[in-house]
Every structure is written in structure tokens, then in C-alpha cells.
Symmetry: D3
């Protein structure tokens, strides 16, 4: 073996939080290359457009020491097809809370069924990110709550713009 291992880290990233950032860093310590894959997810009615989400992620990771081992892309359609096209054999997911667990397993099992070559692995973010989600960050920001320290500075700014009265 010892060939390059490519992993995909999929999500909606609406917006990217420091919990996502932490997971990207952990994944980079295990895999040679990481593709952050932003799902379009129009059904979820995201707060930010796909373009905004793409550029927020790119800016947030621009100063990473291993920036060259990360790609940021959007995808639509089946995740396993996207992963296969990119030569990835691993899907990375963060596990924070019990309530994530069963949905994540259901998804991972369906993906395994759709493509048996690709394995899903779960990483645990730093504990200070266990209870941070894009949803709760948006709820706080909406009413003027201070979310600095929970999201990268560029995202904090974007949230302020969105919710400016």
C-alpha cells in the first residue's frame, strides 16, 4: 500500500463553524488529502448560498499550514459517486452527540450499500465543539448573540451582515 489516501468530508457548512475546522485538522493528521465537499441541499433551505458557503470555507482555511492538502468543492447528486470520481475511498463524518448517531449510521449504511469500496469513518471533535452546530450558531446570531470564538472571524462578519436589522 502506502499509496495516497484521499478522504471526503461532506456537509452543508451553512456556515462553517470552528467545530468543522477542528475536524478538518484532525482528518489531515490521518489522511494524505482531504476534500471538503459542500452539498447543495436546496431542500434544507440554507441561509447562505452555495457560493457564499464555498467562499467562507475557502477563506477560513486559507492560512492552514497544510492548505495544499485540502480541496474545497461543491457537489450535488450521490455523495458516493462524487467520492469515487475524486478517487476517495474514505468518507469522514464528525460524531458529537448521541442524537447524531443513528441518522449518521443510516446514511453510512446506505452509502456502503451504494458503493462497497468506500468506507465511512467517524471522528470526534474537540470536546469544546461537541455542542456547537451551524443551527445553534445561526439562532444565536439572529438575535444579536455574540458568536465570536464559535466560528471563524470571516463567518462572524458574514452572519452579522445577514442579520443586520
Amino acid at each position: 500500500m502506502a499509496e495516497e489516501t484521499v478522504a471526503v468530508y461532506p456537509g452543508t457548512f451553512d456556515p462553517i463553524t470552528n467545530g468543522h475546522i477542528d475536524l478538518i485538522k484532525r482528518a489531515l493528521r490521518i489522511f494524505d488529502r482531504l476534500i471538503v465537499a459542500i452539498g447543495e441541499n436546496p431542500a434544507k433551505k440554507p441561509l447562505f448560498t452555495l457560493e457564499e458557503r464555498l467562499s467562507m470555507v475557502k477563506e477560513a482555511i486559507s492560512a492552514f499550514p497544510c492548505r495544499d492538502r485540502i480541496e474545497v468543492e461543491s457537489f450535488s447528486g450521490l455523495l458516493v459517486d462524487f467520492a469515487a470520481n475524486k478517487g476517495a475511498r474514505v468518507i469522514v463524518r464528525g460524531l458529537r452527540a448521541v442524537s447524531d448517531f443513528e441518522y449518521e449510521f443510516q446514511l453510512a449504511l446506505m452509502n456502503r450499500r451504494l458503493n462497497r469500496q468506500i468506507e465511512t469513518i467517524f471522528l470526534m471533535p474537540g470536546f469544546k465543539w461537541f455542542y456547537i452546530s451551524s443551527t445553534i450558531v445561526k439562532e444565536a446570531a439572529k438575535f444579536g448573540g455574540d458568536v465570536s470564538g464559535l466560528v471563524p472571524p470571516n463567518v462572524e462578519e458574514k452572519l452579522r451582515e445577514k442579520f443586520r436589522p
Copy 2:
């Protein structure tokens, strides 16, 4: 990067089940080398001695196509110290059920605290192994229940010997 990635798969393996076997195969598709690390765990009062557990695991994997990428060893003391000594930067754990989840997280967080260089990742066994554990296999075997298909043939034989009336 592209240097060799070594992972440790720790457990009591009292005895090894087909669920463990499945997880070993999955880990081998992601990592270059895998060390199956059998904990002594005298506090758990295992059914099989450490020597029996070691030889059962070795025999069960003897015919694997990538047998040369697997090591089987016992350890006592801190798992992270063992992993560090072996040059491993990943600990692999199987996640089957919600009830495993929080204990696994507690353990992984403590291990992270004891050695920040080592990352724990979670893999999902094939769904047919979700509800198989060493404990339930032993309970069934104890009363003469047929456990073929749940454990490797050599383990099935050993269980029969242990529980022979």
C-alpha cells in the same frame, strides 16, 4: 506525507467474533498496518486466558490475504503508551450501538488527553454484526446454543470445549 499509517485496534477479544474480523478487514482497507492489541483486563475476569485469546485471534486471521500487514499483540498499562511505542497514530474502535457511544467517547477523550498525537477513529461493522458481542455469544454458547456463523470455526470449537458439561 504518504508515509506508512499504523493503527491499533484494541479490545479484550474474549473471544474474537466475526464482528471483530469484519472490522479488521475494514481497517486494513484504510490503514497500511494494523496492530490487534489484546488487553489483559484481569478486572473483567475474562473467560479465556490471555494466551488463549492471543492464539484464537492469530488462528482466526491466519488465512487473510493481507495477513502480513497485521500484527497481534497483548498489552497492559495505558493504551496510548502502547500505541506510541508501536509508532501508531490512530486507534480504531467499532461503533455498533448507541449504548456503546458515550463510554467510547469518554475513553477516546481521556486517551486524547493522555496523548494528543494519537487520534481515535470509529468504524461501523457490517450491519449483520451490529448486535453481536463477545458477551452475548458466550451466554448463548454456555447453554449449548449454536453460535456457528457468529465466531470463526476455531473459536466455536474452543467455546464448546469450555462449556462441555
Copy 3:
């Protein structure tokens, strides 16, 4: 006693999956007669119309050996009223995952409160269906994922029609 026991198996069946089929077969081994009760559920905005869901279920079970012991009907209003009208004293529900559990209990307790003559029982599908739901099947089918083996052949065809580009 030894009088006929009638059970109701309610759901949205949007669409019926092989997990539902498995549960119907298990219920038939316990009860004399089974009524598959398809809820209208306009609030859930089902993918298939009530008529489509009815005919998909009927076709899927048409070749069952005990077809004559099954009725397929739609209902609106209170489930316990429907059950009482049909002479059923048992409601059958499938339990797959922990996340179903509390909602199912809440529902069963409310139904018990509304009619104390009717008991809800929970059956466990075959483990290969634990992680299959109508929702995840629709998500996969939507992007062209292969769902054969997860739903009856007639449903697979219907899904393909719905999501034809």
C-alpha cells in the same frame, strides 16, 4: 378465548419498503388477521398520493401465501377509532432504532389514553431492515441510487418514474 385476533399495522407507507413487508410477515405469524392501515397524512407532504400508496402496498403483497388474512385500507382521523371500527384490539408497530423509541411510546400512550381496550405491541424487523426507512430510500432514489433489494420491484419502478429527469 381462542377467538380471532385482529391487528392493525398503521403507517404512511410512502412508499412501502422491504422492511414493512418483513414486519407484515412477522405479524401474520402472531395474529389471525392483519389490517395494513395507510394514513393520509397530508401534513407530511408524501411523495406518493394516497391512491398510489394503496395500490403499491396491494401489489407488493399480492403473491403472499396468507394474502387472504391481510386487508389494505386507508384511514384518516384517530387511529384508535379506525381500529375499534374494524374490531381490532392490537396496534402493531415496528421498532428499529433508539430514535424511534420515545416518539413511538408517546404515540402509544396517547392511543392507550384514547381507547384503553386497544393495546400497542412492538415487533422487531429482521436486522437487515433496521436502517432502512422510506425517507432514506427516497433520498437515494432521487439521485439515481440503486434501491433494488430495499423495496419491492413494483415500488422500485414507481420511484424511477417519479424521479425520472
Copy 4:
């Protein structure tokens, strides 16, 4: 210390149930003053208007022995800001089921982050209210199910009016 302790009990109260009533009584045994804080929550599309919810709560508690230690108010914006303005240093939440648990914790952690002076505490309702929620009461009432004993009499009447055919 021995200064007055003020607690806030926030919710949507759409509508208030006997489970809420039970919790209000328990909170009054611990705290000197309790503010029932009804969130506007337009995003949740409540069945009853804010005014209706306010007057239903007020009427439901009008005959309480310690009525003078309770205030009923509506709020929008950040809950911790509302609490701080009212001089409250405790937020009271009811915990009924495991499924509430993680969302409640996420919320409590976010609130703690937004204002470290305010502590969230969890109370357990009487067990007969564990499986009653505003949602399930509305579902039953919608189809003409009898919900007396689950909500105060004035709310029962209001539900009947809303769902009158």
C-alpha cells in the same frame, strides 16, 4: 445570601398543558419568584397567536395559591437578555425524555456562553406528564380525541374551537 431568587421558565406554550402547570408548581417550591416567558417563535408556526397563548396561561394559573409569585410575559430576542433584564439568575427547563436531552443541553450551553451569570436547571415533571407534549395534544385534538385531563379546562375549550369542523 437569602436575597430573593428569580427564575424564568421559557417555552412556546402552544398551548400550555398540565405538564407545564405541574412544572410551574414545582419551580415555585424552590424559587421565590417565577416568570413564565412565552417565546414568540414565529418560525415554529404556532397554532395559537401570542396573545391567545398569553391569555391561556394567565387564565390557567389564575387560581393558584401562590399566583402573586408568578409573572407571565412574552419575549422575543435572546432569552438570556430577557432573563437579565428581569433580574433572574436561573432558567428552568423541564426534562421528560431522552430525546429532549441533547437539544436542551446544546441550548443551555449556548445560553451559558452568552451570559455566564445565568444558570440553567432542569426539573422533572410528575411521571404522568412525561409523555405529554403540546404537539401530541394538538394531534389528538385535531381529530376529535378527548384531551381533558391533559390540558387545563380553558385550553381544552380553545382547542375545540380551533378544530371545530
Copy 5:
């Protein structure tokens, strides 16, 4: 069909509680005959001997209106073998709490594997018994706590004898 349906309700019954009694009554409304099967379980180190547990159950149900449709027996060995010998095709289990859930599923799946003719069904006790277990009753009784209303009167007396100082 319409032949007699026999169900087995297995447990340690150390001691029988009013929660068990409630479940027996519910099972009798669904099945023609019920066998209460008391497991020896020496590994669990029960407080009461098998003989004491048998006679406590028998006395507790002696005045039931459908007493003639209940048998009380002890068993050792595999539950499915016991059930098959008794002509039972259903195993009844009570589900109270999420924490029971996964262990119960694991057990039910193992039993299904050992004998595919026998189906496990889950019933929900009355909600006032959701949080009562033999274990917590014994803990309270041990320190002189009043457990009347939680166990049948004959069991209350036996507990008092056991824990008499």
C-alpha cells in the same frame, strides 16, 4: 389459524413488581395462554431463591380473573428451547426505558437466530410503572423505604423480612 396462541413472559422476578403484574394483564388480553418463566440466573446473585420467587409470583397472581390461562414455571438453559417445549411461539418482553432497548434487541436477535419460529414482541407497561424496577425497589426497601403500591402485598412483606435488621 384461530388455534391457541401461547406466549412466554421470561424474567428473573427478583422480586415480582406491580410493573410485572401490569404486563401480565396486558399480555393476557392478546394471547390465549401465558407462561411466566422465571430464570434461575445464579450469575445475577438474586436476593430471593428460585423457590421464593416462584411462590411470590404464584401468590401475587392467585386472585386474577384469568388465573387459569397463566402458568408459572422456572427454567434454566436456553429460553427458546424452553418456549419451544411449551408450544409457545411468542416471547413477551416489557419495554420501559431507552436504556433497556438495545440490550433487549440484542437478546431478541440472538433468540431469533437460535429459533426462527419464535417471535419476540414488546409491550409497554402502564406509565406509572415505567420507572419501577426490581433493583430500585430492593434498594429502597433495604434502607426501610416504603414500597407499598410498587409491589404486591405479599412481596412487600417478604422484602421486610429479608431486610429486617
Copy 6:
């Protein structure tokens, strides 16, 4: 009202961790007086004797600013009897993880049944203590793992003594 509110914080404290310390501080912000109640629990076979646990807790809190509002005592028998004797009307428990949840509820409901005047409330420790328990601290210390920062300095020393080879 505005009379003094006394709360009891019961546990085994084998040994006290920084998670317990954090909870004591939070409870002191809500209640006028707090009694840390150390259960004997011989059945749990604690690592430290009751005397050792008592003196470790006392030393750990000796420098608290509100030390005079805390009492440290041991108890055996029923917790609610102890609380009533001390004039406490609140029992404080920490909730960290979903797995604590149901057992805590069962206990709280039993205590409520034994004495309806006493209310159990749940507090959430700081998130950095969510995954720390006395058990996992002892497991790490046993093999020489560094537990500084997880327990007070005096406890760290005591652990080192206990596990000195």
C-alpha cells in the same frame, strides 16, 4: 418566602473530581446552603474509605470563597431521610451524558415517592467536565496516566499513593 434554601448534593465522591467541584460552585450560586453528602456505598467497593473521601472533599473545598455556606457529611440509609433531617428541600444532581439520564430519573422518581416535599434538580457541569468521571480518572491513574487538571491537587497525590507500585 425568601427563607433560606438548603440543597443536598449526594454522591460517592470516590474520589472528588474537578467536575464535582464545578457543580458545587454552580449550586452555591442558586442555593443559600449546600450539603455535600458522601454515601457510604460499601456495595460499590469504593477505592477510598469513607474517611479518606470525607477528608479529600473537605480539603478540596477548603479555600472556596463561600466555604461557610458548604457542609460536608457522610450518610447511610435513605437519602431523602438524610435530606429531611438536615432541613433540605432540594437534591442536586449533575447531568452529563445521556447514559446518566434514565438511571437518574428512576432514582429521582423513587426519591419523590419516598418524600414528596423534596425536589430533585439537575445541573449541567461545565462542558469540559462532561466526559470526566471518578471511574475513568481511576482507570487512567491506575496505569500511571497523568490526571492533573482533572482532580484537585490533593486528590492527585492520594491517587498516586494508592497506585504506587
